[in-house]
């Protein structure tokens, strides 16, 4: 109830702010075409797809930037998957900045971490999985955040009411598990279910070449475990959200052309306590063969001590990637990568590229290929889901 009153208050006060004159709107509208190489594993799943999305951001500050307000609505209308058609408020918050502390209230987005292949430490926001298969798109999270800046580092304190459930494709959607996820039947370990108020704390600091963060989260797990069941004669997966405690470390050493990166988490609450880690490097070569092009070589090892029981497919895997930055007027970029399971040889390959066209348009290319997938690997779900995707976005 209190939550609803608070949300209503945010809406009312923010609609007053948005109507005021001196803020500004920006954002994009995009069309996405996704082409699948193979027929789907399940005949009810759709084939090639077209999808529209738009995101706007309203920003306003006053009192010399010491107070600010931000509103970022997001909308997708999908041609084939009605669950992928969705609306979300990514941000709707007010920030107040003081000499040694700042406070944010409202819906916001927070990122923690340093590695490229996966983001173990990052836990504040729920993944908007239906948006992007790489898990980098996030749902807005209601939060009260207090930050203290001191000589010995930054402390961030979070109170996180209003749990958000992960988004999943519908039964006709693609890049889904063999049994579809029954998103409306989620179960919770806590009797408070989604009303459980989560909390988190993080200390972060930069000393010389080192950037370090230590965090602890206590609350409802963002990634559910699944319970298989039969619903209307069909096998479905029920997401089960348990209450967890997770301690995380993220560390980066920036040594000339080498970036050394490490993320480690230890989590309890989902069966036995477990440890997972991602670590590796990014090595940069600048201006290769006398051109303006920079090449970054990335290698990361992905580890999870639950082995085959782990909820991610990456428990003993190696990520190898190459990033090309062309440093041209169009800011052309290309990132190609591959994750190989060192136990069973399953491979996920991905290519991401982007290029600006004129001043206000941008074209994004994304492709994912699953090959040599071991039948025991959880990636087997996506074996028929190799795709190439092109997105054209107009920015305003």
């Amino acid at each position: 109830m209190l939550l609803r009153i608070f949300l209503a208050w945010i809406f009312v006060s923010s609609s007053m702010l948005v109507n005021a004159a001196d803020g500004e709107w920006s954002g994009y509208i995009a069309t996405e075409w996704r082409i699948f190489i193979d027929s789907p594993a399940d005949p009810v799943q759709h084939g090639d797809n077209t999808s529209l999305s738009a995101q706007a951001e309203y920003y306003r500050d006053w009192n010399a930037g010491k107070q600010s307000f931000r509103f970022t609505p997001f909308l997708r209308i999908d041609g084939r998957d009605n669950q992928r058609s969705h609306f979300d408020i990514r941000e709707l918050n007010w920030t107040s900045v003081h000499d040694n502390w700042e406070f944010t209230a409202g819906i916001g987005k927070v990122f923690w971490g340093v590695t490229e292949s996966q983001h173990l430490v990052d836990i504040i926001n729920q993944t908007d999985l239906i948006e992007s298969t790489d898990g980098e798109e996030k749902l807005g999270q209601l939060m009260f955040k207090l930050n203290f800046a001191r000589d010995w580092g930054n402390i961030d304190l979070f109170v996180l009411p209003g749990f958000r459930e992960r988004t999943f494709p519908s039964r006709t959607g693609r890049l889904r598990s063999q049994a579809a996820v029954a998103v409306n039947s989620a179960e919770y370990a806590s009797s408070q279910a989604r009303d459980h108020i989560d909390a988190a704390i993080r200390w972060s600091h930069s000393v010389g070449d080192w950037d370090v963060g230590v965090s602890h989260f206590s609350g409802t797990s963002r990634d559910p475990r699944f319970r298989s069941t039969i619903d209307k004669g069909r096998a479905v997966l029920i997401p089960v959200y348990e209450t967890i405690d997770q301690t995380g470390l993220d560390l980066q050493a920036t040594k000339d052309d080498w970036l050394w990166k490490l993320e480690v988490i230890s989590r309890s609450g989902q069966g036995e306590r477990y440890t997972a880690a991602t670590g590796g490097f990014e090595y940069s070569l600048y201006g290769i063969s006398e051109s303006a092009v920079d090449l970054g070589l990335i290698a990361e090892y992905l580890f999870d001590d639950r082995d085959e029981l782990s909820s991610t497919p990456f428990e003993d895997d190696l990520f190898l990637g190459a990033r090309l930055a062309f440093n041209d007027e169009a800011s052309s970029e290309l990132l190609a990568g591959m994750i190989v399971d060192l136990d069973n040889g399953s491979r996920v390959m991905s290519v991401e590229g982007s290029r600006r066209i004129g001043d206000d348009w941008k074209i994004n290319l994304e492709a994912r290929f699953f090959s040599n997938i071991d039948p025991q690997d959880s990636l087997i779900n996506f074996q028929k889901d190799d795709f190439v995707q092109l997105e054209l976005a107009w920015y305003f």
Binding site: S68, N100, V114, W258, L259, S284, G287, Y395
Partner: protein, 259 residues
């Protein structure tokens, strides 16, 4: 009497300059130019970059910049991108150091991610322009060795012509030749020579304006690449000094808030 004293002091200074060897004189000019730049405290300004290729095709970038002077070290600076629109809100934080590598962080607004990046890419292009990172980062005396060449008229003013060689082996230049205004100790023109020692670029400073009765800032900086035919025109507006910025405006929190 007073006037006499001044004349004598002036004469002694002049004599010491005249008698110094070219390296000594080049360094003294750099030190004097640096001295005239100190104690500015902090500044904010808006910058427009107009990129043009040899076919005359144009693209532009809008950037807001703030700088904080640090006692005994290089400046801290933050750049926030307004355009192109697809990178709007991207922000770049840099702690320059007189010696050793700089500290740099990049904020990516779509992911809300702060990335510590390597500062080794000194010779790389800044935002696809003809300015390299080393051209726009804070100019410290220690970053070059100097050699005075000659005096030469530069436009309506008289200039010292000084060669400066980057100390950092990662620099994209073997040398730079700078025309320094003899009265105001501000650069009027710089020629950049690439690693093969051929003329690569020329930077021309235009339309200088003085702030607080002391600090000169060019309203326009025009970079021509002689090898590719590309040009970049930097236009500065809304220069403000002493805006009360502190270290807190140059940390990772302010980077995430930058707008």
């Amino acid at each position: 009497m007073k006037l006499n004293n001044l004349l004598i002091v002036g004469f002694v200074c002049f004599a010491s300059l005249a008698s110094a060897n070219p390296e000594q004189k080049g360094l003294e000019i750099a030190i004097e130019a640096d001295k005239r730049e100190t104690d500015f405290g902090d500044t904010t300004a808006n910058m427009t970059m107009l990129l043009k290729n040899r076919h005359g095709e144009e693209s532009s970038r809008y950037i807001r910049l703030r700088t904080l002077e640090v006692d005994g070290d290089g400046d801290k600076s933050m750049s926030v991108f307004d355009r192109p629109r697809d990178v709007k809100g991207t922000a770049f934080l840099s702690f320059t150091h007189k010696t050793g590598s700089d500290d740099q962080w990049l904020y990516l607004p779509a992911l809300k991610r702060v990335k510590r990046i390597s500062s080794r890419n000194k010779s790389g292009s800044f935002m696809g322009s003809e300015f390299a990172y080393e051209d726009i980062s804070s100019q410290e005396v220690e970053k070059y060795t100097y050699k005075y060449i000659k005096d030469e008229p530069c436009g309506e003013a008289d200039c010292f012509v000084v060669e400066r060689d980057p100390v950092d082996e990662l620099s994209g230049y073997t040398r730079q030749v700078a025309w320094i205004n003899k009265k105001e100790y501000r650069p009027e023109k710089i020629d950049f020579y690439d690693r093969k020692n051929s003329l690569l670029k020329t930077l021309t400073y235009k339309d200088y304006q003085q702030y607080l009765g002391k600090y000169w800032r060019a309203n326009e900086m025009y970079m021509q690449n002689h090898q590719t035919g590309k040009t970049t025109l930097l236009s500065w507006t809304d220069y403000k000094f002493g805006t009360g910025l502190t270290n807190r405006d140059f940390d990772k929190n302010s980077l995430k808030r930058a707008r």
